[in-house]
Amino acid sequence: MNVPVDPKTLVAEMSPVSTSEQIATMKKALLKNIQRSAYVYRVDCGGCNGCEIEIFSSITPVFDAERFGIKVVASPRHADILLFTGAVTRSMRMPALRAYEAAPDPKIVVSYGACGCTGGIFHDLYCVWGGTDNIVPVDVYIPGCPPTPAATIHGFAVALGLLEQKLKAETHVEAAGETAALPHPDIPYALRVRLEREARRMAGYRQGRDIAEEFMALLEGHAHTPGSFSLSERMLEAIGEERDPRRAEIIARLADVVQRAIRGEAPRGEAP
């Protein structure tokens, strides 16, 4: 007979690492008047090494974290700050805990990168713990995939209590009668779809949308200002002003789409 299995019994429950009050007061005192360099030990808990590359680029001369005394050291026994990267894989949990235990108190734990903060894109994998905070208490989270060197420096400044964090949890509640504005109400919907499709086909989703938006703003702006120019002249003017030949080609194609729509022809590549 199949006995129903309680899924909780299949997962090992690990006791979380706790810190005593004494250590917490020591940490506060350390942060309050830190008169020396802060040494960083980097713990890789199964990341892709993208974060490591950004950490090392933040100690290069361009970003130079060492001017603030932030120095990467080779042993957790020298460290003040532990930098955990990667989505804590099952096999890296024990080494990560050993590094945590080896660092002297008081220590600041920083969770680095999207994987370190929450598990990132690997959050629901069978073999990951999904975030540093599942194994050790974390003081500061630096999100990013990977965080840029500037974000890294900002994160260290937040960890050392030099800068305030900028993000705050917010909840927006829909107001009564709140409506989303229709984009470009003066341009027929079918034409707008054709323009966006053509621009995105030529320039990709992100840049294509930007170009389509610019083009439609041009179309609308000219329609509202009285002038003796005909539509094709306006288009030629816009194409002539464009410096980038790739963008000029895309705008020419968009102008062609508009001309075809005006003449009532089917767009290129579609049966009439």
């Binding site: 903060c117 598990g119 959050h123 630096i142 999100p143 995939c145 974000a151 900028k166 993000l167 509640v173």
Partner: protein, 196 residues
């Protein structure tokens, strides 16, 4: 020595001023996704596109609300949400200073109300989405009646639409049977073949 000094003066200072001066970012930098909840229609396109499941949506039919949420800690800054957004409500900004002390500050939420179906009265889609689709459809409608009909279609839930379609098709079937009966009595059978 002089050569070295010359080289140092020629190179200048390579280090950025960052924490003391704002950091310039390049064009199309992919920073923190900024969500304008006023423009959002809660269509869930971004939740489907998000590869890391940083953006999620929960629908609570009992309370008649849909909660959109983003977890910046899970975001991989790929920009797929921005690509898929039909209204341009979500856009990747230049902001990269995301470090926080508590994990709760990494999430941002927006609560939207659900609209009730015009036919059965059960909540089925966000009110803003229904309103947006109705306005978009009536914009391209040829007549006022067609616009009204399209607006009603947009405000009907899929289950009711299906039921109405079944009803409609059943009605068509009777009409066709009657036509077939007529053709037996008087009209030529050729017409029966041509009817779809």
């Amino acid at each position: 020595m002089l050569k070295l000094l010359k080289e140092i003066f020629r190179t200048g200072e390579a280090t950025v001023k960052y924490p003391f001066a704002p950091m310039p970012v390049c064009k199309d930098f992919r920073g923190k996704p900024e969500h304008k909840a006023e423009d959002c229609i809660a269509c869930a396109a971004c939740t489907v596109a998000c590869p890391a499941n940083a953006i999620q949506m929960e629908t609570d039919t009992a309370a008649g609300s849909r909660t959109w949420s983003i977890n910046y800690g899970r975001c991989v800054f790929c920009g797929r949400c921005e690509e898929s957004c039909p209204t341009g409500a979500i856009r990747l900004s230049d902001d990269f200073e995301l470090a926080v002390g508590s994990k709760a500050d990494l999430t941002r939420k927006a609560v939207f109300t659900l609209a009730d179906c015009a036919c059965c009265g059960k909540p089925f889609a966000p009110a803003k989405e229904v309103d947006y689709v109705a306005r978009l459809l009536s914009q391209s409608a040829r007549s006022a009646e067609e616009a009204d009909r399209l607006r009603l279609t947009a405000a009907t839930c899929p289950a009711c639409k299906r039921a109405q379609d079944v009803h409609h098709i059943a009605g068509m079937g009777i009409a066709r049977q009657m036509e077939a009966g007529l053709s037996k009595t008087g009209k030529p059978a050729k017409e029966l073949e041509t009817t779809p």
